[in-house]
Symmetry: C2
Subunit: 295 residues, 2 copies
């Protein structure tokens, strides 16, 4: 039977070279030569069976891709460039070498699309469900990181793409908006940005919280994805509700005082710290109904 | 009921300041100012319920500490200084805020002992068992990282501390040998080093594999921990077997051509790439019987 050490030998044979990486996976830690004076951004996100994917439906390649793409989407949210990733995998016992390889290839495929090599990590088998955790390192590369905390009163609010219904499939197969984020940051004074992972309403609330501001969004301006329309037929909830509250769109939500080259205008930032929805001539409080875990 | 966002608000209130960290947890990524010209070391290790701890026996504080200490021990293995950590936690649904806090405090307590702040991460609840993954960033700080690959023929082999029987409790409560590793690397030409996580025999085999050498170790020289003796009474296996093959000692195993200030001499490096045990006047092959996961 194949073992963890066979798998690690195989991973070592797969390592891509990078000018940044002096010593990749295979030792206790990887060694990187960090560019002089370059800001270093770090974070981590996990994907869990039954929460972020369904191991009985999704392929290990898809699961690996999603684990990496969630982290790449965090890089997009700050307009930085991915540099390297580290992954840990908790593998249900007996899944086998081929499954582990496919997970790794999914992670790598997604990383390769943005020149982000996997430089280390850990694999273990357990009597538990599949869990992948990815930590990502990124660099500013000439663009000061865009936080959630810089939105100013009267800034306009924009979103890339169309929202809602990602659960029908897009949540496994989205493209991190790194190129768009870099283009936006280079061309426009983007004041705050986040990637929509927990729903437009909840993620906009996060920008407002960190920026000490409020927001009004315009219902008719929100770009509705075709999946939100399809899903509303089954769910009995409106297109708009799906677009406002569904998670895992992984589009960019950002604020800017000027007109940016990319994005749909959906509202503006206000001083009074409340989150409001303007719809049919009425303005009502919008409560963040998106994804939040009870502990 | 407390939610993930309440927990994140609490974590934000706990953040320690550090000259390295410009922006800590609370945004999509943390932002660090990496010291100019400093090598950056990165890695990740996880702890899983039923493999590395038992959630029905160990406290969340202990589990958090172990998750961090495993990573700090990887820093020791390369003689580098921990700089920052990122943690993801997959929490069994309904464990509650107090449990999540205790996990975090365990992580932080262990990190604080080596000035290693937690700068970000991710928490999610699931219908699965408890899993923690920690990624660690470290810096060389004047000592070139010591790899597994530098052992030379005729180098002596040393180990810190005493080995075996860690499962009786030490595996939850070890001290990462960072100070010892730095002292060794400053004072002596350490050629290769690893922390013993999967057993002396298996981890020595890793040094030999990466260095393209072999080794002979002397049975009577191996420092046996009192726990190995206690355990052998129950297990029916010898003290020596426990010291050679038990995992999670997290002591340093290293090679050096000169006499180092710390460590017990247990053998020497040979040219022929085999791993041998010298015992009672006989030399026999030593096969790595330590921890390896079937996939």
């Amino acid at each position: 039977m194949a073992s963890e050490s066979d798998f690690l030998d195989w991973i070592r044979s797969q390592q891509a070279l990078s000018p940044l990486v002096s010593l990749a996976a295979g030792d206790d830690l990887a060694v990187l030569k960090w560019p002089v004076g370059e800001l270093l951004l770090v974070g981590a996100d996990q994907v869990l069976d039954g929460v972020h994917f369904d191991a009985s439906i999704h392929t290990p390649r898809q699961i690996g891709r999603k684990a990496m793409n969630r982290n790449l989407s965090d890089c997009a949210a700050m307009a930085c460039l991915p540099a390297a990733a580290i992954a840990t995998v908790a593998l249900p016992r007996g899944m086998g070498m081929e499954f582990a390889r496919e997970l790794y290839l999914g992670l790598r495929e997604a990383g390769d699309a943005f020149n982000c090599p996997i430089v280390g990590g850990d694999t273990a088998s357990w009597d538990g469900k599949l869990a992948l955790s990815v930590a990502i390192l990124a660099r500013a590369d000439g663009i000061h990181p865009i936080t959630r905390g810089g939105a100013k009163v009267n800034d306009s609010i924009y979103v890339t793409g169309a929202l809602g219904g990602s659960i029908l499939g897009r949540h496994m197969n989205f493209t991190p908006r790194i190129k768009e984020a870099r283009e936006l940051a280079k061309s426009s004074p983007i004041s705050a940005m986040i990637d929509i992972s927990d729903g437009l309403a909840r993620d906009l609330a996060r920008i407002c919280q960190m920026s000490n501001v409020g927001a009004v969004i315009d219902a008719v301006a929100i770009p509705i994805h075709a999946d939100a329309i399809t899903l509303s037929k089954k769910s009995g909830r409106s297109w708009l509700e799906h677009a406002l509250h569904d998670g895992e769109d992984h589009e960019l939500l950002f604020t800017c005082p000027t007109r940016p080259p990319v994005g749909t205008l959906i509202g503006h930032i206000t001083a009074d710290r409340s989150l409001l929805l303007h719809e049919n001539g009425k303005t009502t409080p919008l409560s963040p109904g998106g994804w939040d875990y009870a502990l």
